[in-house]
């Protein structure tokens, strides 16, 4: 079994979820795919050493975002996928997320090529997602994942939340960001009605898929 995607052989897929039944049910789709599911039953105390120790057998990863509820893993799944990306391991985030988690994921979104809902996760979408990841490793990002320098208007700053408009993406939709996710120098000066620039994947269709980097303010 296994499958070669873009010249890369994928045999085993690690399934990471802090809930026993969550791991099991995520494993169903992997079982039906050409890959062998490796269910990570025990908790992970250190992501770096986990990845280093398993890198030789980790061809790909499927992780839930919520991993901290139980004594399973000290970080959330967005960070797991990000770290995998840094090591060029294709990884997919399969999770249900609400408003409160959007910005947790957004922080790492530049290096999270695919986020699937549990309903969207099946053997076909798994293969497609892994292909998307490998394509990004090869330098081929989909247009909706490429960041361009664009103008950002700060609508309001309330406590730890910043409300912005990105006219180059959609001038009608206000997006809320966490202040602490911005670089320190920008965070310090940001205020309502200010205009700044950042690189944003303005080709994204949904606001939750947007990511931001290289902020600039005069």
């Amino acid at each position: 079994m296994g499958l070669a995607i873009k010249g890369r052989q994928i045999d085993r897929v690690f399934v990471i979820d802090d809930d026993k039944y969550g791991r099991e049910s995520s494993g169903f789709a992997v079982e039906e795919s050409p890959f062998e599911p490796v269910i990570q039953e025990s908790g992970i105390t250190n992501l770096n050493s986990f990845l280093e120790n398993n890198i030789h057998i980790t061809d790909a990863v499927v992780s839930d975002h919520h991993l901290k509820k139980r004594n399973y893993f000290p970080e959330n799944g967005a960070k797991v996928v990000y770290e995998c990306y840094e090591r060029q391991i294709p990884a997919v985030l399969v999770t249900r997320f609400g408003e409160s988690e959007i910005n947790e994921i957004r922080k790492f979104r530049e290096k999270i090529p695919v986020v699937l809902t549990p309903g969207e996760f099946n053997p076909d979408s798994l293969i497609n997602s892994l292909e998307t990841c490998i394509n990004e490793f090869l330098g081929n990002r989909k247009p909706e994942r490429v960041a361009w320098r664009t103008l950002i208007r700060i609508e309001d700053v309330v406590d730890n939340n910043i409300f912005i408009f990105i006219p180059g993406w959609n001038y009608e939709v206000s997006i809320s960001l966490n202040k602490q996710d911005l670089p320190r120098d920008i965070r310090n000066i940001i205020k309502a009605d200010m205009r700044v620039h950042a690189k944003v994947n303005v080709g994204a269709e949904r606001s939750e898929d947007l990511f931001f980097k290289d902020w600039e303010a005069k």
Binding site: G22, H66, S100, P118, N161, N188
Partner: protein, 694 residues
């Protein structure tokens, strides 16, 4: 023929217009200009510095500044004092008196010297106290010359045997404008505050202005009402960027103490990227009852704070304007106080000093001397001070809450005690009066007790509902995560596998139940999302609220409820988009509770098709929003009582929904109304709200 021979050596020349521009455009104010000259005296290690003002009530007056600094010889005047744009003093070189030079670039000095028609300098260098050097700059000469270099400035030397006093004197004569009394007060204040008068160091640099205003202020500043402060915050950042803080009471006893993590919040170990800094803030509770037992009056403190209040910033011992000037609130103290007034100092009731030991010169002042360039280092200092203020506020609120709790207990026992005393006094009255008063008092007592009972019940109900809300949100959050994920993934696996293993029977046997489960999951997802949507933080900020958009959003959120209960919702909206300013949450709570009310009423409906109609009508600056239903109408309860808390005809209801509608509407400046039977046959309940536009 090309021989590349040099025919002339050229230089960039400056028009005299440049001097005029620099001098005039960089001159922020008279007091600031004089301070620039006084800072030069500080850099020259002067121990005394006197400013004299003569004939200043009209144009043409004179400002003279004497100092006892190290003075200058001809070469220092020519190559230092007269060179603009370059500082002769490096901030990293400490003077023999241990001062870190302010390191001005001479532009402030130019601005000051340009205030008059003539600038005169006399200097006796410490290295040669038998020599006197004089220089006169006659500005009109510059106005008639084309370029700066064409005006020659002779430096005159006199050899005067016998020991002269070293130092410099600068006179600015023929002032172009008069100096008002207000300016004099500003100059006096600037001079007094320049070298940290709060430090109580007798050897500190103390410039003097010869004027009655100065003496008056000097007396005021020397009063030092710090011991009357109710709270003294002392916070510091060390050279490694770690902060600590403590708050002391007026006796100097420590009330609260904080480590770096306490200030920034547990787990936050970010360090401050700024030079070593200390922050003292004395905060006063200016309330006459607090001052009755003190030696100083509240008026004295108010006057003192009026002149010296605010948070002043000292870089290497010298004050940097405008931080702490009247109207300058660089730490946003007033804004923070406006947002959460409890236990927060403002610039009117506190005085503060931030002292930065900037030996590396990381903070640089703007060319026009109007504060620092807004660099990262400056922001870090600001953030440190604000974090210390936030921490102090949090600690003070904690104490205030404990006090409130105690007062609550005390006031309840105090009420019982007073009641007993009134009853005792009544029993001492003569029998004829006693009976009547006793009866009246008993009636009053009964009514009050009933009122208290209602209020207690209402508070209890609100608490219970809040807890129910929090629990619902937690459960929604939880169920939206794992259980729904497990069901979705498992049923999808069953769906795929039955299709693969039992293709012949799939449609007939499996398809329907699988679809039912998937539909059920979808409904559960929507219901959970609906609960969480109500709690979105974005909805709690004040913004432009579009009436129709919010109604449509609430209707969409409720769509699965309406569908599940076979209720058809119709809309009849006024043209346009009426809007007002408020939080979306406030308006949403009105619409949500009106919908909930109709949904509950329809449970008792006998109509074949259950209906809700939501209508908006705009009349002048008012939008009327009404929710009609075809339920039984308002029955079994008086119409005006439906708004009272706890009043409900629904056995499972809380009786609070319409009370919330009434309270939220009142907050928005509107009014509520209810009609027992209207358009659809059932009740019509609605609100009228003032709008800004359509």
């Amino acid at each position: 023929m090309i021989d590349n021979s040099i025919v002339q050596l050229a230089h960039i020349k400056f028009s005299t217009e440049i001097i005029k521009r620099l001098g005039e455009e960089l001159n922020p104010s008279i007091d600031q200009s004089i301070l620039e000259l006084v800072k030069n005296a500080y850099d020259a290690d002067a121990t005394s510095c006197t400013v004299e003002l003569e004939d200043i009530t009209d144009e043409g007056g004179t400002i003279t500044i004497h100092d006892s600094g190290k003075g200058m010889d001809a070469s220092e005047i020519n190559n230092g004092w007269l060179v603009l744009g370059q500082s002769s003093k490096s901030i990293k070189e400490i003077t023999p008196l241990g001062r870190t030079p302010a390191g001005s670039k001479g532009l402030g000095r130019l601005a000051a010297l340009r205030m008059g028609n003539i600038a005169y300098l006399r200097s006796v260098p410490k290295s040669n106290i038998e020599s006197e050097f004089q220089l006169t700059i006659n500005w009109p000469q510059f106005d008639s010359a084309d370029i700066v270099e064409n005006v020659e400035l002779p430096i005159i030397h006199n050899h005067l045997p016998g020991n002269l006093t070293h130092g410099s004197t600068i006179s600015i004569r023929g002032l172009k404008q008069h100096i008002s009394e207000r300016d004099v007060r500003k100059i006096a204040r600037g001079l007094i505050l320049l070298a940290d008068p709060f430090d109580d160091d007798p050897t500190a640099f103390k410039p003097i202005l010869r004027s009655p205003e100065f003496q008056e202020m000097e007396v005021l500043v020397s009063k030092r009402y710090f011991s009357d402060a109710d709270y003294h915050l002392f916070a510091s950042v060390d050279q490694t960027g770690h902060a600590s803080a403590r708050v002391m009471d007026y006796l100097g006893q420590t009330l609260f103490e904080a480590t770096h993590e306490d200030i920034l919040g547990k787990g936050n170990t970010t360090i401050f990227n700024c030079p070593a800094t200390t922050f003292d803030l004395w905060s006063f509770i200016l309330n006459s009852t607090m001052f009755t037992s003190r030696t100083n009056s509240i008026t004295e403190i108010r006057d003192w704070l009026k002149d010296f209040g605010g948070v002043h910033l000292y870089q290497n011992g010298l004050r940097v304007s405008p931080y702490g000037n009247p109207g300058n609130d660089w730490l946003n103290m007033n804004l923070s106080r406006a947002r959460s007034p409890e236990e927060r100092p403002s610039t009117n009731n506190s005085i503060g000093v931030v002292r930065v030991s900037d030996s590396e010169g990381l903070l640089s002042q703007k060319t026009d001397r109007a504060g620092f360039i807004e660099s990262d280092v400056f922001h870090e200092i600001r953030i440190f001070c604000q974090a210390a203020l936030d921490w102090m506020a949090k600690e003070r609120i904690g104490v205030a809450e404990v006090k409130r709790q105690k007062n609550r207990e005390k006031s309840s026992s105090a009420a019982t005690e007073t009641r007993d005393r009134v009853q005792q006094s009544i029993s001492k009255l003569n029998p004829a009066d006693r009976e009547e008063i006793e009866e009246l008092f008993n009636k009053y007592d009964k009514a009050t007790q009933a009122e208290v009972k209602v209020l207690k019940a209402e508070v209890q109900l609100y608490r219970t509902l809040s807890t129910a809300g929090i629990t619902a949100a937690t459960f929604s959050h939880e169920s939206r995560g794992n259980p729904l994920k497990v069901i979705t993934q498992a049923i999808n696996a069953i769906d795929r596998r039955t299709k693969e293993y039992f293709p012949a029977n799939y449609e007939a046997v499996f398809a329907k139940p699988i679809k039912s489960i998937l539909n059920g999951v979808r409904s559960l997802e929507v219901l959970g999302t609906a609960t969480l949507k109500l709690l979105s933080h974005e909805k709690r900020r004040i913004t432009r609220v579009d009436v129709h958009d919010v109604i449509a959003n609430v209707r969409d959120t409720f769509a699965p409820f309406f569908e599940g209960r076979d209720i058809i919702v119709d809309e009849d909206f006024a043209a346009g988009h009426p809007y007002f300013r408020s939080s979306e949450a406030a308006f949403e709570s009105i619409i949500t509770n009106l919908f909930n009310n109709s949904i509950a009423a329809l449970e008792n409906s006998t109509a074949e098709q259950r209906r809700i109609l939501i209508q908006t009508v705009v009349q002048e600056n008012i939008v009327k929003i009404s929710v009609h239903d075809n339920g039984p109408g308002i029955t079994g309860i008086n119409v005006k009582d439906i708004w009272l808390p706890g009043e409900t005809t629904n056995p499972n209801g809380t009786g609070l929904g319409l009370t919330i509608v009434r309270d939220a509407t009142t907050d928005l400046g509107g009014s509520v109304f209810a009609i027992e039977n209207s358009l659809l046959g059932g009740a019509e309940i609605g609100v009228e709200l003032p709008i800004i536009g359509i």
